[in-house]
């Protein structure tokens, strides 16, 4: 087991280095320049541009910049944002809780509805419920979420006035210093009445939007996985033995059916991050996805490099964990690879 883990971990190292290399050079190929992009109609004189580029170290040979970058990375230094003068690592982990909070609740939404719905659909295969659910999940699965987000804002926030249009909390009424960065937890810690509800209120719609595609995927997966398990011999045997349906489903079928589902949940992390980019953009949610998009616009090289590297590392780590977990549940995988 340990050996397997070690091998899988070792395999990700070259990926990580390659990632470092590719992001560094790809980003430098993006036309435009972090100094120029900030000037207005006036522009900037070539001498001053040269001076700033020098101060930012952008005038040195690119391989030297790269070596410095790698050297600093190895020392845990992801560089300093050109725009905000803030350390990239600080900035990232200041914004990351917002993304995590959003993603977490999106997954809670997806799992909370998707798995039970999938199970029920499988049990009542062919029923109206099953048909409706499959139709809906196919729709959700095919949803362009940027449009879905706009549509919900239009209906729920604008027309019905049920939820706020953007942001994480009512900033005017509630003000407290971030402790954990998770707005819900901070709101509870702050002791301000209503702050928690305000934060939750702001979270609902974005979480639904981000959770829609995973919800649809999970419902479909759970249903088919459940159907498969239900048709297996041991379940049929258990049923035939006269075990109560609850025990059959609860103890035998569900447990086995959920193994592949857990994997899917884990592997959704990557697409969840991509979805977060769009969701955060639509809802002005101050997370890493929106930050990354803005960094491209501002040609903030260090922020971009660091951001992509960090996000990808997280995705790699999560996938690795899922892999390992799955491997420990299902030993066949270990040798299969």
């Amino acid at each position: 087991m340990f050996k397997f883990l070690l091998r899988r971990a070792a395999l990700t190292l070259p990926t990580f280095f390659a990632l470092m290399f590719v992001t560094f050079f790809a980003i430098r190929l993006v036309p435009g320049d972090p100094v120029e992009v900030r000037t207005g109609e006036r522009g900037i004189s070539p001498e001053r541009l040269a001076q700033f580029r020098h101060e930012l170290g952008l005038d040195r040979p690119i391989w030297q910049q790269f070596l410095d970058y790698v050297w600093n990375l190895l020392h845990g230094d992801f560089g300093t944002s050109i725009v905000t003068n803030e350390r990239v690592l600080t900035e990232f982990f200041a914004l990351f809780p917002a993304t995590l909070e959003l993603s977490f609740f999106a997954m809670v939404f997806a799992i909370g509805i998707g798995i039970p719905a999938g199970v029920i659909a499988a049990l009542k295969r062919g029923s109206i419920f099953d048909q409706t659910l499959m139709g809906l999940s196919l729709t959700g699965f095919s949803m362009p979420i940027f449009w879905w987000g706009l549509l919900l804002i239009m209906l729920v926030s604008e027309r019905l006035g049920l939820t706020p249009v953007s942001g994480r909390i009512d900033l005017i009424k509630y003000y407290f210093e971030p402790v954990t960065g998770f707005m819900l937890i901070d709101a509870l810690l702050s002791d301000q009445k209503g702050a928690f509800w305000s934060a939750l209120h702001h979270l609902v719609l974005p979480a639904i939007v981000l959770g829609t595609v995973p919800l649809a995927t999970l419902a479909r997966m759970t249903r088919s996985s459940m159907l498969e398990v239900l048709s297996e011999d041991y379940v049929r045997t258990a049923r035939a033995k006269g075990l109560s349906p609850f025990r059959v489903i609860g103890l035998h079928a569900l447990r086995n059916a959920l193994i592949p589902v857990v994997t899917i949940v884990g592997l959704q992390v990557g697409s969840l991050m991509a979805g977060a980019v769009l969701t955060e953009t639509i809802f002005s949610w101050p997370g890493v996805g929106k930050w990354l998009i803005e960094s491209i616009g501002r040609r903030d090289y260090p922020a971009l490099q660091g951001g992509i590297l960090l996000i990808s590392s997280i995705v790699i780590l999560v996938n690795l964990t899922v892999d390992v977990l799955y491997g420990s549940i299902n030993p066949r995988i270990r040798h299969g690879r």
Partner: protein
């Protein structure tokens, strides 16, 4: 609309006279899939014959009629069935021509990624060793960056255009084809018929393409169908972020982005392009489900 999507079940299929007939028999039992196919066929036909179907040119500006709602809403007119956009262009015509763009993107991405994916996957499976490791590490690399972020970065490097959208989305989708082909080829490679072919002197390309590949096709076709719909979504997302096709090309995602400011005042302009994307993607996915059920019973979900 897709209520009966995955209901149909394929039980015992009678002994088929030919593979195509068998496929059709199996496919047509899935009502949802047939519905998807019909819908998609309509969309494809409309896209192909856009010049004849669309009432106007997608770029003609009727400036005295800007921002009209669809005809059934108050203020709308039957002159412009689905209303007009901010510049007075006919929404219906733009959606029709947009179908062409989106389907083209989806198909182009699919064709290119299959071509490259199959080659790389087969090479990785057959060559093994360092080549295999290098190819698969590169694919891991691509997969580790969230798809949309990677696509945005690629478009940022290459500059926004229709062609570069296709390039970016293709790169993002490549790994799944490579992995799929490699995995199924690896599964086939040690089977007896391959060994037999080898013994009979079949070598290299011929062995890869003629002997092994046909046996990996089923999952590939399913993946390809789903890949088209995902490519359409991904390209629309890029368009929405302003990184896709450039004006005046009526790409659905960028139509949505252009009209975002009217979300309050003229919601129709925002609603329709998204609906077009959704319907197209649903129809492809419905059909893809049917394809999967018919071609690859192992992957069957229902």
């Amino acid at each position: 609309m897709a209520a009966d999507a995955a209901v149909a079940e394929v039980h015992a299929v009678p002994a088929p006279p030919g593979p195509l007939r068998a496929f059709w028999a199996s496919f047509s039992e899935n009502k949802g899939a047939v519905f998807g196919l019909v819908l998609l066929s309509i969309i494809v036909l409309v896209a192909i014959f856009a010049e004849f179907v669309a009432p106007y040119s997608p770029i003609e500006q009727f400036r005295e009629f800007s921002k009209l709602p669809p005809f059934w809403v108050e203020g709308g007119t039957t002159k412009f069935w689905l209303g007009t956009d901010a510049l007075g262009r006919d929404t219906l015509s733009r959606l029709i021509y947009g179908a062409r763009i989106s389907l083209f993107i989806g198909l182009a991405v699919m064709v290119v990624s299959i071509a490259i994916g199959v080659s790389l996957g087969l090479v990785a499976a057959f060559a093994g060793g360092v080549v295999d490791v290098v190819i698969m590490r590169v694919m891991d690399l691509i997969i580790s960056v969230p798809g949309l972020v990677l696509a945005i970065l690629i478009v940022a490097v290459l500059g926004p255009s229709l062609a570069n959208t296709i390039v970016a989305v293709t790169i993002v989708f490549l790994p799944r084809y490579v992995r799929l082909v490699r995995a199924s080829a690896m599964g086939e490679i040690n089977k007896e018929y391959v060994t037999a072919a080898r013994v009979a002197g079949v070598k290299g390309l011929r062995l890869m393409l003629r002997t092994v590949l046909p046996n990996c096709l089923a999952p590939l076709i399913v993946q390809a169908a789903l890949g088209v719909s995902e490519a359409i979504l991904e390209a629309a997302a890029l368009g929405f972020l302003g990184l896709g096709a450039q004006p005046p090309i009526p790409e659905w995602g960028s139509m949505l982005a252009d009209s975002r400011e009217f979300i309050r005042s003229n919601p129709w302009i925002v609603t329709l392009p998204g609906l077009a994307i959704l319907v197209t993607v649903i129809s492809i996915n419905l059909m893809g489900d049917g394809l999967r059920d018919a071609l690859d019973p192992k992957l069957k979900r229902s």
